[in-house]
Amino acid sequence: MNAAAAAAALSDERVLIDHSPPAVAAHAVTRRYGEGDTAVDALRGVSLEVPGGELTAVMGPSGSGKSTLMHILAGLDQPTSGSVEIAGIEIATLKDNELTKLRRRHIGFVFQFFNLLPMLTAEENVLLPLTIAGRKPERPWFQQLLESVGLQDRRKHRPSELSGGQQQRVAIARALVSRPTVLFADEPTGNLDSATSAEILELVRRSVDELGQTTVMVTHDAVAATIADRVLFLADGQIAKSLARPSQAEVIDAIQEVTGQ
């Protein structure tokens, strides 16, 4: 896709976002940190397509490049080589402003450490992406969203008055409020206990099923991976294995296999 088309797609508000595959595609992506002797190749030629309407889980040992891949797929970071397309738009050539607009439209991000703004209420935090974009929320959708994440009675609370699970729910609602093309979540349960984790995973799965929300999620948790439609295993900056709807045992086997290499 050329730059003119990209610009046209960005400027035309009425463009209908096609959720048919792929929502995000990467081709031969590498990412090198640092230079010379201390250089680290975090990604070494990753190609993948994230199909629309599916939940893709990314697993792999610590340092295998999961977070790096997420950041690049989400347009937060640029690959050292290779190309990334988000909603059909090649991001390598985009200027900061264009990339920002692309993120507004197509990307939702859930962080391990919630990253809520402490001075805003839960509701205001959720609405923040729309506020930033200068858009008005569609009230029914917003209500539905708050209900489905279970925050109706917490909307006026500030982050410091919420539990970790509640804060993460706010963060998920915030990521979903602009109906992004893809939702990225990097270890969204990494900071939560197992019961709360289960609730959050259930919420993520539900958003895929009910809203058709394309989602990419990094996790270390084999149980979490079993709710995915597809699980990618990263090792040493490369995709080592890919499983469709695996069972918990299959996931554990795969982890051992990948780590054992």
Binding site: D96, N115, M119
Partner: protein, 850 residues
Amino acid sequence: MTGVALKGLLARRVRAVLTALAIVLGVAMVSGSFVLTDTISKAFDSIFTSSYSHTDAVVSGRKLVDYSNGGNATVSEAVLERIRRNRDVGAAAGALIDLNGDSTHANLIGRDGKAIQSNGNPTFGFGIDTSQPRFNPLKLKEGHWANGPHQVVIDAETAKKHHFAVGDKVGVAASGPRESFRIVGTATYGDVKSLGGATIAVFTIPTAQRLLDLHGYSVISVAAKPGVSANRLISELKREVPATARVRTAKEQANEDKKGVASFISFIRGFLLGFGGIALFVGAFVIFNTLSITVAQRTRELATLRTLGASRRQVLRSVVLESFAIGLVASVIGLVSGFGLARGLSSLFGALGLTLPQTSSVYATHTFVISLILGVLVTVLAGFVPALRATRVPPIAAVREGAVIQRKKRLGPVAGVILFGIASALIAYATLGGHLGSGKSLLALAGGALLGLLGVAGFAPVLVTALAAVVGIPAKRLGGAAGRLATDNATRNPARTASTAAALMIGLALVTFVAALGKGLHGSVDRAINKQVTADWVVTSQNGWSAFPAGAGRAVTKAPGVTLASDIRSDRGRIGTANVNVNGVEPATIARVYHFDWRQGSNATLASLDGHGALVKQRFAKKHHLAVGDAFTLRSPAGKPVRLTVAGIFQPPQVMEVLGGVVVSRQAFDRTFTRRSNSLTLIDGSPTQAGLDRALAAFPDAKAQTKAAYVKAQSSFINTMLNLLYVLLALSVIVSLFGMLNTLVLSVFERTRELGMLRAVGMTRRQARRMVRHESVITALIGAALGLPLGIMLAAAVTHALGKYGVTFSLPVASLVIFTVAAMVAGILAAIAPARRASRLNVLEALKYE
């Protein structure tokens, strides 16, 4: 987004307020300067307007000479008679009122036998024709107007302050020895609450003429007959008056009267605003630094906003909006505090002997507009670089621990060196060109100083580590582990420490400059007087610089021990269009008490002064192409001409000249000038203080001092000036104190986890406190290490330029020690709250903190 920015600001209230304080003082100074000067201006307005309230036209003596003791030419009684006879004139009255000059002054003597005024505030002595109340600018409050030769009415404020009641006797000293008068009434001048420190005594016209040694009137107020237009009246009057008088409408006259005062007020305004500007400049540094730190601390928050789709422009706008809000709040607070500060400034001037007239305070629109705009502008400009830095926070920083803002290549040090180079060039231009004092060179000097400060602030981060190593030695030696950690903390973010110190540096550089310059001036004044005056004792007026009655000079000759007393008369005269100081000396004795630096002639030349001879100052002779033997005409303030011949040329020092432009004999002076007053009487011999005081008892305006005391008193105005400058510069030092406080508060906040860890591994509360305090003192000392040399360098350059005035550079060692100690105290003060916070930290909470 706006809402988000403002909510963020509200959440960081305390920090926002601390940031705002940096600009509050500067704005307060600006608004205070305006309120004060507007108020004074209005007071003078009403003084001058009420002087001519029921008057259509004013006839006054033409002003031929500026700053004369004797005042302008007077208008004779005959002129008044002529005016009264004019068919268009309804009424006319003459008066002796000179608000601008020195000609209608009569000193009131307090119950202690001393003059009420001794510090230079006006002592008005008016002669008023009270039979024509419509022209009388004063309003009687008690008693009746004076109607006999021994009666006086004094202003109500003075009566109250000095416990005089109607019926009391009061001493008055005008141009002759003191006399006793009975107070028959009290009065106020127009609607003015207070004429500042001025006292007023009102006499009958003949009494005033006698006391003031004036003939005729200083002004004649005229009212037209009903039906006669003011224009017609004026053109009628113009035909009646001599060439030495002028006719004006009341309004013109009031404006004319106001001219001198107006330029004085605008000088004071500029002077005060200058210090407001300095405080704002320092405030800008503080704002810049504080916002830089907060932006750095909010990296994660800003990055999150970026991942949520905020564009760079939005981030920029939100940070700029934040500084705008801070600036606006600060400016409003500053504006209002300025109203109070105006009163403080007024009493500051009062304490220095310059009491200014007051009415109810004036809050003009321009005070509001300028204060607010200035405060907001400075804040937003200072916050702009941090705001730009905020836009460089990459979205990825939201997810990556320890991500830092990508720095553009560090331009600071290079830019700093370049700025410093330009500054040095400007200062060299201003001080080496030999024309310091011209507007251009003063501008270059001020610009150079400003750029120099900015330049040093620019490359200071490079110096911080080295400086901290030096000024941190005591902390390391005495502070133990806490002291060592403090030194490390001070250098771990050199840019932050540098700009915190830079704010303090500005104030310290300026006070150092002032101290060094003051010391240089002091020396030059002392030398100049010592070179000229060879007398043992000196008689001056109480304030040391105005003229005193000639009679006092004669009186001291009678004191035991006085070998000779040589009077020096003084007034201003005019040669062609040039104004010149004129002195009358005793040719027979002057050379024994005054040293002439002859260029042409010798002490023998003095004998030729008895006729029409005159000595001329060399600079004046050059400028007006006068050589020995040339004749020229000198005119007195009253317009009386005298033909003189240049007999000799001498050159007094360029500062503190005792004898000025043209010197004639006392006899010639007395023939030409109406007002016989002395600037000095120089005494040889060995009289006693008590003897001289007794001889001067009738002249409370005059006082006798030994030469040493006289020299000291003459340079004491420099001390007064220095004190004023110190007080005004203290303001910017206080501003930088807020800066240090801010940095510490933010650093302690930032290091919460670290402090918790230190406490967990065994640091005591005391040590934590000490660590913060040492860091603060080190920062302050870095400010001193940067500021003092800068101030000294600037002073060295300026004293060099003033070399021809006998100013030499000398290091004000005592002042430097005091300023260094003051910087340390500032550091300790700034650290009080942050140190307490650091020591009160709950260890568990701190470690949990995320």
